[in-house]
Amino acid sequence: MATATAHHENSNYLNHEKGLWSWLTTLDHKRIGLLYFITVALFFLVGGIFALLIRTELYSVGETIMTAEQYARVMTYHGAVMVFLVIIPGIPAFLGNFFLPIQIGAKDVAFPRLNLLSWYCLLLGAGIALTSLFFGGADTGWTFYTPYSIKHSPAVICMALGVFVAGFSSILTGLNFVVTTHKLRAPGMTMNRIPLFVWALYSTAIIQVLATPVLGITVLLLAAENIFGIGFFDPALGGDPVLFQHFFWFYSHPAVYIMILPAFGVISELITTFARKTIFGYTAIAYSSLAIAAVSFFVWGHHMFVSGQSEFAGIVFSFLTMLVGVPTAIKLFNWMATLYKGSINLSAPMLYALGFMFLFTIGGVTGIFLATIATDVHFHDTYFVVAHFHYVMVGGTLMSIMGGIFYWFPKMFGRLCNDAWARVSFVFIFVGFNVTFFPQFVLGSLGMPRRYFDYLPEFQHLNRISTIGSYLIGIGFIVGLITIIHGLLKGEKSGPNPWGGKTLEWTTASPPPHENFLTTPVVTAGPYEYR
C-alpha cells in the first residue's frame, strides 16, 4: 500500500480533497473528527448561553430576567444540550476519532461509513430535539422524570426521539472504536503497548455499546408514554415512576463515565508528554479504566437514595458506589507519581492537565459525600450535587478537552496556538470555575435545592458570587476560542513533534497525510519510552 505515496510533499488530509462537499461526504476519520469539533463547539456555545442565562436569572432573588416557565426550559436545554450533544460526543467523537486510529498505527477506523453516519445521526438527533422549541419547549429537566414528563406534549416527544437518534451516534462511535482497537492495531502494537488515551476510549466504547441501547428503549418508552399513555411509568395503570429512574440511570450513570473516562485518557497523555517521563503504573491506569467501566453499570441506584427505592437496594448501591472510588483514586495517585522526578513543562496543555487534577480531585472527594448514604440524603437534589457534577463534568471533561485541543492542535493543523493566550484562557476558566461552583457546595450544604428559579434571600450573596464566576468562565472560553482561531490563521508552523511526545501520532507529519502514515509503523516498545 505504500505505493500510494503522496503526489507531492505537502499532501495532507486537509488538502487531499477540496470543497465543502468533500467534507460532508468524507470517510476520513480525521475530517470526521473535525466535523465533530465544529458541531460540538457550536452546541457548547448554545449550552453555554443557556448556562449564562441561568446564572443571570439567579443573580438576585425573585424574577430577574425571565419567568419561571422560561427558566424551566432554559435549565432543561442547558442540561440536555451539554450532556447529549457536548460532553458525550466531545472527547471520543472529536479527539478520539482523530487520534485513536493514529495512535494505534491504523489508516482509519474500522467502519468509515458508519463513522460518517454517526455524525449525521448526531446532527439529526440534535435537529429533532431542538424542534421541540417550536412546540413550546420541554420543561422536564434533562432527566425527563416521570410522571411529570408524561404530559402528551409534542415537545417531550421531540426531545425523546432526538435523544434516541443522538444515542445511535454514540453507539456507532463506540462500536467503531471497539473493532478498530481489536482489529486495526499496527504490527507490534499489542494491547499492552496502546497509549492510555486508547485504553480510555476503549473502555468508554464498551460503555457506549452496552448502556446506550437502554437509554434508547427508555426514551422510546417515554415517547410512547406521551403518545399512547402506555402506563409503564404511570401509577394510573399500576406503573411505577421509580422504575423510570432505574431505566434512566442504568444508562445515565455509566454515561457519566462516558463523559469522564476519555478525559482521564487525555490527561495521561498530557502528563507524560509534559513531564517527559514514562507513565507511572501503565497497567494500573489501563485496567482501572476497564474496572470503572464495568463497575459503573451497577451503581446507578445512588441517584435514587430518597426516591422511594427500597432501603436494601439503597444500601447495596451505596456499597457498590464506594468501589468505583478506588480505581478513580488510583488514577489520581498515578498521575501525581508520574510528575515525580520529571521534567515539567508548564505550557498551556499542561496547565489544563494540572487544573484538571485540582478540580477533579474536588469533584472526586465530594462524590464520596454523595455515595455515603447518610450524607446523601441531605445533599441529594441540592446545589451540592450541582457543584459536584460540574466539578467532574466541566472541571474534568471540559478542562481536558481544552488541554487536548491545545496539545494536539499542532498535529491537527500543523500550527501552534499562542501559548501565552492559551494560558490566559486557562486562568480565566480555572479561576472562574472555582468562583462559580465552590459557593454552590456551600449553598447545597445550607439546603438550597437544585433547579430552583427563586431562592431564600439569605442565599443571594453566594448566588451572586457564583454568577460573577460564570461570566469569568465565559470570558475564558472566548479567549480560548480566539486563540484557536488565531492559531488556525496565523499560528507559527509547528513541525511534526513540537512537544516531544512519544506516541505514534508524533511520528507522522503535521498535519498527517490522508492515510495517516506514509509507511505502516512497526511498534517495538511501549507508548511512553522516555529514557
Binding site: 468509515p112 471497539v178 473493532v179 482489529k183 486495526l184 446506550t212 441501547p213 410512547a224 409503564f232
Partner: protein, 227 residues
C-alpha cells in the same frame, strides 16, 4: 469509492484492511457488537415485562387469553423456517451456488411477508376489540369477560396491551428492516457479487435476521403462553 482497492484475487477490501479476511472478521465483529446493543434494547422491555408480570400476574394471564396461540405458533414456525433459509442462503453463497442462494433468500423474504400478514390479522383483531395500549384502550369489560370465559377483567389490562404492542411493534419494525436488508442482499446475490471469498453482507444481514428470530423465540411464550 476511491477507498476500495482491488487485490490480486479479484475481491474487494477497503484500504485500511490488510486482507479480505481481515475485513470480514472485523465486519462480523461489528455486527456482533450491534446485535449486543439490540439485545440490551429489547432487554429493557423484557426487564419491564419481568417486573410488571411479577407485580400483576392476573393482568398478564388474562391479557394473554386475548392472543391466539395458533397465530403465535404459526409465526414461530414461519420465522424458524426463515432462519433456516437465511442460513442456507449464506451456505449457497459459500459454495457459489447463485441460483439456490437467491431461492433461499427469496423464501426468507416470503416468510417475512407471511409473518407480517399474520401480525396484521392479529393486530386488527385486537384493535377491533378495542384492546389498545394505555390511553387508547377502548375495551368493554363485559364484552371482554365473555370472550375469556367469564374471567374478571383486571383494571390495568391496558398495561398488558402496552407491553404487547411495544414488544411486538418494535419486533415488527425489526422484521421490516430485516426484509429491506434481505431484498438488498438478494439483488446483490443475483448480480453475482458474492462468492466463497466475499459474502460479508449476506452474513451480516443473516446475523441480524437470526437475532430478530431469537427475540421472537422469547416473545412467543411471554405473550401467548403466560399462565
Amino acid at each position: 469509492m476511491s477507498t476500495v482497492k482491488s487485490s490480486s484475487t479479484g475481491h474487494h477490501h477497503a484500504h485500511h484492511y490488510e486482507s479480505a479476511d481481515h475485513e470480514y472478521q472485523s465486519s462480523k465483529q461489528g455486527v456482533w457488537l450491534f446485535l449486543c446493543t439490540e439485545i440490551l434494547m429489547f432487554g429493557g422491555l423484557f426487564v419491564g415485562y419481568a417486573i410488571f408480570h411479577h407485580l400483576f400476574p392476573e393482568t398478564f394471564k388474562v391479557g394473554s387469553k386475548f392472543t391466539d396461540v395458533r397465530y403465535g405458533a404459526t409465526n414461530t414456525v414461519v420465522l424458524l423456517a426463515s432462519s433456516l433459509s437465511m442460513a442456507l442462503g449464506i451456505y449457497y453463497n459459500q459454495i457459489r451456488d447463485k441460483n439456490k442462494a437467491v431461492m433461499a433468500l427469496l423464501f426468507t423474504l416470503l416468510c417475512g411477508v407471511i409473518f407480517m400478514v399474520i401480525k396484521y390479522l392479529e393486530y386488527s383483531h385486537k384493535i377491533h376489540l378495542g384492546l389498545m395500549p394505555g390511553d387508547w384502550y377502548r375495551g368493554n369489560a363485559e364484552e371482554l369477560a365473555q370472550y375469556v370465559g367469564g374471567l374478571e377483567i383486571p383494571k390495568n389490562l391496558p398495561l398488558y396491551f402496552s407491553f404487547y404492542f411495544m414488544m411486538t411493534g418494535l419486533h415488527g419494525i425489526h422484521v421490516l428492516v430485516g426484509m429491506g436488508l434481505i431484498t438488498w442482499v438478494t439483488i446483490r446475490t443475483a448480480r453475482g457479487e458474492f462468492g466463497p471469498e466475499y459474502y460479508t453482507p449476506v452474513e451480516g444481514v443473516g446475523l441480524f435476521w437470526h437475532l430478530v428470530d431469537l427475540v421472537w423465540i422469547y416473545l412467543f411464550p411471554l405473550l401467548y403462553l403466560v399462565s
